[in-house]
C-alpha cells in the first residue's frame, strides 16, 4: 500500500482520537495504558512527540517490543522480548502507587465535571440496570498517576453527567473531601469525538478547550449533561497530518486491528 493511498483513505473516528491523544503525550516518560485507543495513541506518540515514552501495561509488562499488535494487555507478544515483566504486587505497589506513572489512560461509562468516573453500574449498585465490569485497576490509576487522560468515544449527556450513578473511581477532589490525600492531580484531559475538555488540578472543573473542525461550542454544551465551562479561547483541533496518519496506519496498526 503506497503512502499516497493510505492517506487518502477517509479518516476514522479511532484515527482522529488516537492522533489527538498522542499529541497530548508530548515529552512524557511513562504511560499506563490499556489496549485499543490508548495503546495506539502511546505508540504513535513514541514515534512522534515522546521518543522516550514507555508503555506500562496493567498485566506487569514494561518496555514491550511486540512482534504483532497486541490484542489484550496480556497478549503473549507483549511478553516475549519485553524488557521486564513484573508481578502484580510490584506493578501496582512499586510502579503505580510508587509514583512512576506520568500519564494514566482511563475510559468510563460515565464521567462528571470533576473527572470522577463510573465503571460499575448503570442504575442502583444493589439492583443495577446494567452491571459493568467495575474498577479493574482504574481506582489505582486515578489515585496514583501524575495525571489521567480519559478517552470517551461517545460524548452525550448520559455519559457526561451531572451526577454519576455510582462513583467507582474518584478524582482527588472527592478524596480530599474525605480526608484522604491523593498522589496525583486526577483527570487533566478528556478527549472525545467532539473535542477536548481540560482541567488543571484539584479544585478545578473540566473546561472545554478545543473542538474538532466543524464542531461548535454549543454542540458540545448540548451533549454534556452539566453546565459546561468553556475556555476564553476555544481552539480548533489541528486535523491529523498526513505523516501522523501514515505512521498510525503503516507502523502502528498495519493490520487495522483497532483502526476499523
Amino acid at each position: 500500500m503506497s503512502t499516497e493511498t493510505t492517506v487518502n483513505t477517509e479518516m476514522t473516528s479511532s484515527e482522529r482520537l488516537s492522533v489527538v491523544a498522542s499529541r497530548e503525550l508530548a515529552g512524557r516518560r511513562t504511560v499506563f495504558a490499556g489496549i485499543g485507543l490508548p495503546t495506539l495513541a502511546a505508540s504513535l506518540a513514541h514515534l512522534t512527540v515522546a521518543p522516550r515514552l514507555e508503555i506500562v501495561y496493567e498485566s506487569g509488562v514494561c518496555g514491550a517490543h511486540p512482534s504483532h499488535l497486541p490484542e489484550t494487555i496480556a497478549d503473549a507478544v507483549l511478553i516475549t522480548g519485553a524488557e521486564a515483566v513484573l508481578s502484580m504486587p510490584a506493578l501496582f505497589g512499586y510502579v503505580l502507587q510508587g509514583g512512576h506513572i506520568d500519564v494514566g489512560f482511563l475510559g468510563a461509562a460515565q464521567i462528571d465535571k470533576w473527572g470522577n468516573l463510573n465503571t460499575s453500574v448503570i442504575g442502583d449498585w444493589d439492583a443495577p440496570k446494567v452491571r459493568l465490569p467495575g474498577s479493574g485497576g482504574a481506582v489505582e490509576v486515578m489515585a496514583n498517576s501524575r495525571e489521567v487522560f480519559v478517552v470517551m468515544r461517545r460524548h452525550d449527556p448520559r455519559s457526561f453527567t451531572e451526577k454519576l450513578d455510582f462513583c467507582t473511581t474518584p478524582g482527588p477532589d472527592r478524596a480530599l473531601e474525605e480526608g484522604v490525600r491523593p498522589l496525583g492531580t486526577g483527570v487533566t484531559r478528556v478527549i472525545t469525538e467532539l473535542g477536548i475538555l481540560a482541567r488543571e488540578g484539584v479544585g478545578e472543573e473540566l473546561k472545554l478547550v478545543a473542538v474538532h473542525p466543524g464542531v461548535t461550542v454549543d454542540q458540545v454544551r448540548e451533549n454534556t449533561g452539566w453546565d459546561l465551562a468553556v475556555a476564553d479561547t476555544v481552539e480548533t483541533v489541528q486535523p491529523p497530518s498526513a505523516e501522523e496518519l501514515r505512521l498510525l496506519r503503516e507502523d502502528v496498526d498495519p493490520d487495522r486491528v483497532y483502526l476499523r
Partner: protein, 305 residues
C-alpha cells in the same frame, strides 16, 4: 494427583476458593472439574472474574463472588453473571466489589498473616459505601503537612484453597512460571491449601537448574496436578496461545441461558475430564494455537571449583 482427586480432596461445598491467573494461566480445567463434581455454595475469589467464573455461576456452584473486574476480558459481557446480578436470575449473587490493587493487597495481607493492608486507593469512592471491607486507619506518623494522615486498608483474604495454573513443577511442588506471574504466589501463600495445575511435571534437575524461576516453593503446595492445556481458552506462555475466537464467542453463548447450558453439557458435563475436552477440540484446533520458539539465554549460577 489427578484433577479429579485434587478437586475432590481440596474443594468442599461452602469453601472459599481462590482461582488466580491474570489473563495468563487461568485455571479453567480446575473450574470445569469443580462443575463436574457439582460443588455448591462456593465463595469464589478472583481478580478478573471472566469466562470460567461465568461457567461456574451457570453451573450453580457459586453463591458469593469477590472480584475487581467482572467482564469477558475486552471481548464483551458475561451473560450469566449479569443475569445473576441484574435480575437475581435464577438466584441472587452476593458480590464483594474491590479494585485490582485492593484484591492484591487482600492477598498480600493473607499471605503475610497481617490483620489489614494499607493502600492509597478508595478515598472518595462509592465502593466503601457498598463494601464494608474498605476501612480507614490513621497513620501514627504525621503526614507531609504535619497533620495526621488517613489511609484506606483492606482485610486479608485467606481462602480455604487456592488453585492456580503454571507451566511446570517438580514432583514435590516447586512451581515455575514465566511470562506474567500475576498474584499467584500471594494467592497460594494466603490459602490454607494450595493446588497447582501444570502443563508438565518436570525432573528435579530442570527446576534446580534455575531456582530463581521458582515462584512457589514446595512447602506451600499441597497437590500438583499435570493437566496439559488446562488454561484454555487463556494461554500458557511458550506452550499455546490465547483462543481469542472463543473469548469473542462467549458473549453470544452466555447471553442465552439455553445456549450456555448446552455448552456446559457438551464441553464439561459430557467430557469425563480435561483430556477428553482437549481431544474433542482436535489436533487442528490446537495447531492453530501453537507457538514457535523464543528461548531465554542461560545464566551461570556458578559451581565451586
Amino acid at each position: 494427583m489427578t484433577m479429579r482427586e485434587a478437586i475432590s480432596s481440596f474443594v468442599h461445598d461452602g469453601d472459599t476458593v481462590a482461582l488466580e491467573g491474570f489473563t495468563h494461566l487461568i485455571p479453567t480445567a480446575a473450574g470445569h472439574e469443580i462443575i463436574r463434581q457439582g460443588r455448591r455454595d462456593l465463595t469464589v475469589v478472583r481478580m478478573t472474574a471472566d469466562i470460567v467464573v461465568d461457567q461456574m455461576l451457570a453451573a450453580g456452584c457459586v453463591t458469593r463472588l469477590v472480584s475487581s473486574f467482572v467482564g469477558n476480558s475486552s471481548a464483551g459481557s458475561l451473560g450469566e453473571l449479569r443475569r445473576r446480578i441484574e435480575k437475581a436470575d435464577p438466584e441472587p449473587l452476593v458480590f464483594e466489589e474491590y479494585s485490582h490493587y485492593g484484591m492484591i493487597c487482600r492477598y498480600l495481607a493473607g499471605a503475610q498473616r497481617l490483620p489489614f493492608y494499607p493502600l492509597r486507593s478508595y478515598g472518595g469512592s462509592d465502593l466503601s459505601s457498598v463494601n464494608d471491607g474498605l476501612r480507614k486507619v490513621t497513620s501514627p506518623y504525621p503526614g507531609p503537612d504535619g497533620e495526621p494522615e488517613q489511609v484506606y486498608v483492606v482485610p486479608p483474604v485467606n481462602p480455604d484453597v487456592t488453585i492456580i495454573h503454571a507451566q511446570r513443577a517438580d514432583r514435590s511442588g516447586n512451581t515455575q512460571i514465566w511470562g506474567l506471574t500475576g498474584v499467584q504466589a500471594e494467592a497460594v501463600y494466603a490459602a490454607d491449601k494450595a493446588v497447582v495445575v501444570v502443563e508438565e511435571i518436570v525432573d528435579d534437575e530442570v527446576v534446580r537448574s534455575d531456582p530463581n524461576r521458582t515462584v512457589i516453593p514446595a512447602h506451600a503446595v499441597d497437590a500438583v496436578v499435570a493437566c496439559p492445556r488446562g488454561a484454555h481458552p487463556s494461554f500458557a506462555q511458550g506452550y499455546y496461545d490465547r483462543d481469542n475466537a472463543f473469548y469473542r464467542a462467549w458473549s453470544g453463548i452466555s447471553k442465552d441461558r439455553e445456549q450456555l447450558q448446552a455448552w456446559l453439557k457438551e464441553w464439561v458435563y459430557d467430557t469425563a475430564d480435561h483430556a477428553e475436552y482437549v481431544s474433542k477440540l482436535g489436533e487442528e484446533f490446537w495447531n492453530s494455537l501453537a507457538v514457535g520458539e523464543a528461548l531465554s539465554l542461560p545464566v551461570n549460577y556458578g559451581r565451586r571449583l
